[in-house]
């Protein structure tokens, strides 16, 4: 049961990512909801995932 405003068209938006990015996210074990996409409406492309992985690796490396 979806509440008003808690619909696909409301606050429960689906993650917007191109097919290759979705595949890559699975391969790298990346949670797409944590990636900020650079495309229109936050659309995630493969490059965004690579950047996300780099960023998290860096912050992990710097002990944060």
């Amino acid at each position: 049961e979806q509440k008003a405003g808690q619909t696909e068209g409301g606050t429960l938006r689906r993650v917007l990512a191109v097919p290759a990015a979705r595949q890559l996210a699975r391969e790298l074990g990346v949670d797409l909801t944590q990636v900020s996409g650079s495309g229109t409406n936050g659309r995630i492309k493969p490059l965004d995932i690579h950047q996300h992985v780099q960023k998290t690796a860096q912050s992990a490396g710097s002990g944060q």
Binding site: A4, G9, G10, L16, N41
Partner: protein, 463 residues
């Protein structure tokens, strides 16, 4: 173990799974009790499209008079047409058999039945495998009171055999995709065709506007369409099949006589003979095998794909699922994560769609804008003598995100490629509108429908 993967059923779901698994280096077998290629190649997608093309050619030749081309009387050699169709089926199923060989997929002939979760029996042999993919498909649903004899009362399989002469009066019980494809075929071949549908609308699942336009065109071509009507019984008599029809709203009953009756009231998943219980599985009440997005059943090393794994019962869904199952088994992180599964009615013009209908989008809570471009304003459509229909686009207000595309047009199924990719790429109407489309093409109607979302179509007056 005899095999890494044993696939049960060599329809589109099964053969895609088998070939992909083999491509990924697995030792694969595929069991098939009937003909390789399944429903799709043998008695589904392919033979219907062959007959549709034959019928369409007849209609096109008639329209050729508009540009001054006329012919002496036509003769249609129905046996030859059926043979031509069968030849295509043979070529394609032979192709799949060849692909099995080339990819080193072992083809096991016979009905597979589980003995335990790692063993199946086929004939008097048993085979073990580490993983199984159930791809046993579906079969026509039956209708009480209408006993299919595949001559006077047929299901889709019998309807593929066009009788000589073609039936003068034909009834299609069921106004879904299959019902309309056959209605269109027989109508073009010369039958007087009536389609009855229980629901208030034909082609359930398609966008209401698109269905309305489609129905109007089919009627203009001579097909009679009656909704809210069911068939209660059919009696074969000397002068034809007497069918009792009932208006489901008023309860009024009438009897009409037809020369052929097609029962096309849906399909049901096929698990009979599989002995699912031995593998620790159980079908749902409606007969499906439940799976997750990795196509795994409740028993993790047993997968199910295609018609048997749920709706929509479409070949391309089966294919995708087959690939996913094979890849997951091979250790790849694949998933059936399609944004949308396209649908097509291969009449002329075609009805094709992908993504949400306007109503579905509203129901899901989207604030919706739409765009529409009529084929009558397309130069290419005029030159192709096919100006009926339109492209309709359903878009989210604000984000401009494309939610669905609904096309009634010649070659609509070809235009669907762009629409499908657009949805998967999370494209906006602007992405489509800013992309140069070759002139003069039918695809310009897709561009203009996107422009019309922003009230900026060029070849119509935007309101």
């Amino acid at each position: 173990m005899d095999f890494d993967v044993l696939v049960i059923g060599a329809g589109p779901g099964g053969y895609h799974a088998a070939i992909r698994a083999a491509q990924l280096g697995l030792k694969v077998a595929c069991a098939e009790m009937g003909a390789v290629g399944g429903v799709c190649l043998n008695i589904g997608c392919i033979p219907t499209k062959a007959l549709l093309h034959a019928g369409e050619t007849i209609a096109n030749t008639r329209h050729a008079a508009d540009f001054g081309l006329s012919y002496g009387p036509a003769t249609l050699d129905i046996a030859k047409m059926n043979g031509w169709k069968d030849g295509i089926v043979k070529k394609l199923t032979g192709g799949v058999a060849g692909l099995f060989k080339a990819n080193k997929v072992t083809h096991l002939v016979g009905q597979a039945s589980f003995i335990d979760a790692n063993t199946v029996k086929i004939g008097d042999k048993t085979y073990t495998a580490s993983s199984f993919i159930i791809a046993t498909g579906s079969e026509p649903a039956t209708l009480k009171g209408l006993d299919v004899d595949q001559v006077a009362i047929v299901d889709s399989t019998g309807a593929l055999n066009v009788p000589d002469p073609v039936p003068a009066r034909m009834l299609c019980v069921g106004g879904g995709v299959i019902g309309f494809e056959f209605a269109h075929i027989y109508n073009n071949l010369g039958s007087k065709v009536k389609v009855i549908e229980f629901l208030p609308n034909i082609i359930p699942g398609a966008d209401a506007d698109a269905v309305k336009e489609f129905g109007k065109i089919m009627k203009k071509q001579g097909i009679e369409i009656v909704t809210r009507m069911k068939a209660n019984s059919a009696q074969k008599q000397a002068d034809g099949v007497h069918v009792e029809l009932e208006n489901v709203e008023t309860g009024e009953k009438t009897t009409e006589v037809f020369d052929r009756v097609l029962v096309a009231v849906g399909r049901r998943p096929r698990t009979a003979g599989l002995n699912l219980e031995a593998a620790g599985l159980k079908a749902t009440e409606r007969g499906f095998i439940e799976v997750n997005t990795r196509m795994q059943t409740g028993v993790p090393h047993i997968y199910a794909v295609g018609d048997v794994a749920g709706n929509p019962m479409l070949a391309h869904k089966a294919m995708k699922e087959g690939l996913v199952a094979a890849e997951v088994i091979a250790g790849k992180p694949s998933e059936q994560d399609a944004v949308a599964i396209p649908g097509v009615v291969y009449t002329s013009p075609e009805l094709a769609w992908v993504g949400l209908t306007e109503q579905e989008a509203i129901d899901k809570g989207y604030k919706v804008k739409t765009g529409l471009f009529p084929m009558s304003a397309s130069g290419r459509a005029m030159t192709l003598q096919s100006t009926e229909g339109f492209v309709k686009m359903v878009v989210e207000e604000g984000t401009d995100l494309l939610l669905g595309v609904h096309i009634v047009a010649a070659h609509a199924s070809d235009l669907l490629g762009e629409a499908g990719l657009a949805l998967e790429m999370a494209a906006t109407a602007s992405d489509v509108a800013l992309t140069i489309h070759a002139h003069p093409t039918l695809g310009e109607a897709v561009l203009e429908a996107a422009e019309s979302v922003h009230k900026q179509a060029i070849h119509i007056v935007n309101r």
